[in-house]
Symmetry: C2
Subunit: 435 residues, 2 copies
Amino acid sequence: MERIRTSEISSHVGTRIRVAGWLHSFRRLGGITFLVVRDGWGIMQAVAESEAEIAPLLAAEAGLESIIVIEGQVIGTAQAPGGCELHDLSIEILSPISEVPPIMLNKTKLNAQPATLLDHAPVANRHPQRRAIFRLSAGIIAAYRRILTERNFTEIQTPKIVAAATESGANVFQLDYFGRPAYLAQSPQFYKQIMVGVFERVFEVGHVFRAEPHDTTRHLNEYISLDAEFGFIDNHTTVMALLRDVIGFILNSLSENYSPELELLHTRIPTMPAEVPSIHFADAQELILKLHQVDVRGEPDLSPQDERWLGAWAQQEFQSDFLFVTGYPMRKRPFYTHPDPQCPEYSNSFDLLFRGTELVTGGQRLHLHQDYIVTLERAHLPIAAFDYYLEAFKYGMPPHGGFAIGLERLLMQLLGIQNVKLTATFPRDLNRLVP
Amino acid sequence: MERIRTSEISSHVGTRIRVAGWLHSFRRLGGITFLVVRDGWGIMQAVAESEAEIAPLLAAEAGLESIIVIEGQVIGTAQAPGGCELHDLSIEILSPISEVPPIMLNKTKLNAQPATLLDHAPVANRHPQRRAIFRLSAGIIAAYRRILTERNFTEIQTPKIVAAATESGANVFQLDYFGRPAYLAQSPQFYKQIMVGVFERVFEVGHVFRAEPHDTTRHLNEYISLDAEFGFIDNHTTVMALLRDVIGFILNSLSENYSPELELLHTRIPTMPAEVPSIHFADAQELILKLHQVDVRGEPDLSPQDERWLGAWAQQEFQSDFLFVTGYPMRKRPFYTHPDPQCPEYSNSFDLLFRGTELVTGGQRLHLHQDYIVTLERAHLPIAAFDYYLEAFKYGMPPHGGFAIGLERLLMQLLGIQNVKLTATFPRDLNRLVP
């Protein structure tokens, strides 16, 4: 008999079917035993009305998380989760488990400390709420790929072992590359720009590595970056328009295709306004002075408090969870940032704030070889180390720009999760290399 | 005027349009100038019949690879590549280029040594033949994801920084993780198995790192692995059936959707037989004795010559480019390999040969906790180092198995490319960390 997934049971009412999975819960009430089976897609209840039916479980001393196969008759019933359950059971045990799992997997709400969840991730990740987070993560990536592929972007894979730090010398992991030092890529920035010279429009979903020595709820030392970069833009506003569509598509896609997961997590996905409000960095500082009597003019960046104020303003003024801040001062942006031609101390860059916290950074990049030479010299950076990168510009690059979305941070903010580590299956932090 | 991609020109005959891209070639014949523009999707010809039309190019001394924008009238003509060309040109230069590129990008056939192509990858990758290879690479990944998603597999991302070598202590890159040693993942094997405990069916498209100190045409130190792993299998034959469908789907998808790329590379994609022939390892050794009078019985593995003989046999006997060899001896397979229950010195594993060369390895894994303990002890491996991995088995794992496809090797073999490094955009080898 072919195996049926628990998520498909409701279309088999009245027939005898076969399910397989983990023994999710087991309760005896008088002469009746309620079993719940969990498979890769969901859970379903099975009801044994005789001792004979559950005899194989008892004989094998098979406890929770045992791998079992159950055949039974599908009965529609309003009381059962999902509206139906199995009766007249025939049970087979594939892997009996006797030890009690370190995490209670069959409580609707996952009740454990973050450290416990992370230490026991191989088991904790089986909890329906953990699975929901990771399915949403896969959903974000799938939607990201779909919209960019539709927009004629080509997916690329860039090297993760690199000869030099990407953006600065700090916070990179060093490795031994056949006796020479090498580094783990902090970002695909240089390579995605080079690949604009090849395909014009490229994106990457890949690991990036940051050796930041901070153990906080906001830091991961390895995470997934959703990068995009494309040519023949007017300026950073072309990039912002794409980003708006990309985030909007992701949000819609989650709302439409992941209702069960969102229900399990008691979350609603926000919507993206057709027009995202936007404010220039300098105007944002003026606004903060006006609204809060705090003078941050002259500061080269926004503080978390500034961002919260701006987020509240966007909410109140435009009923928008999202706000673009544009034109960050050049001195706080990386060397490849394109200046604002009208006002070169400001840049053609932006941050996208979500509910008062930075979600995505992006902008226009320099595209003329000579501009790179001047900028690198001014920054006292060693031009020779950038030779391979500069070769792309030496032989023709269009005006271009892009952005990078941190997958885990996006999940954290969308789902209101307090600790970014809980958005990854097996996070890496200052003290955690296993599991 | 909105920009049109070169690949879309033929639907605009008779109208005035705008294209933008790289100046791919420039030839003056008498009073007429033929320009070819290359954009991210293809090339198109533009014809200037007056000096005035090309005056901006001459004034800027804009050579090949300059970034230009051309407006013109689309004229249908059999002689032009793609069947149409632009006339009555108005040309604008975005980035003039004066230096001659180190690679001739406008010759149909790419004529350069591999070392030159790799040293100058930022420019060489722009050649239409190089682009075709990378588009096919993206096409393989997209098809891989599509078929597995349709089969209810969930995409995962597993850690690339790990506490210990995955399969053995050899050939791993070591890095400094905040003062402690850590390693780059050789494969997602352990994590994908753990995640079978979560989602049952998982796949990953990700970087793997191998510190093999060989500089050959077959080695890459960083490559993309297409991994899959799934539970509730009967044995390795369930895995083989999936692999057949996956490779078959990839091949069909390339044939159907990538004709221009395949034409540029003068390649035809093979087809996957409905039934892939299969031979047991022991029978393969007997066959080699019978056909070639060479006695390799007792050898623990097949040599490249053995594989070529078997490939020729599959071709002759079954007209198949593909052949499964099953049941490799346990002593040459990794510790998590499931033995053949009938004959425990052989394994429930397989290799898929393509035209006499190994293409994919896979098989069934152990799934009982106790079997892992016994196997690790027998192999004198430190059980404590595997604690996090063993936790998955301690709390219930179904019979499962999977495979790993090396993306670059698959491309190399499908396209008949002699050097695997030429299938990657920016390959890493013993001596190459840039570009």
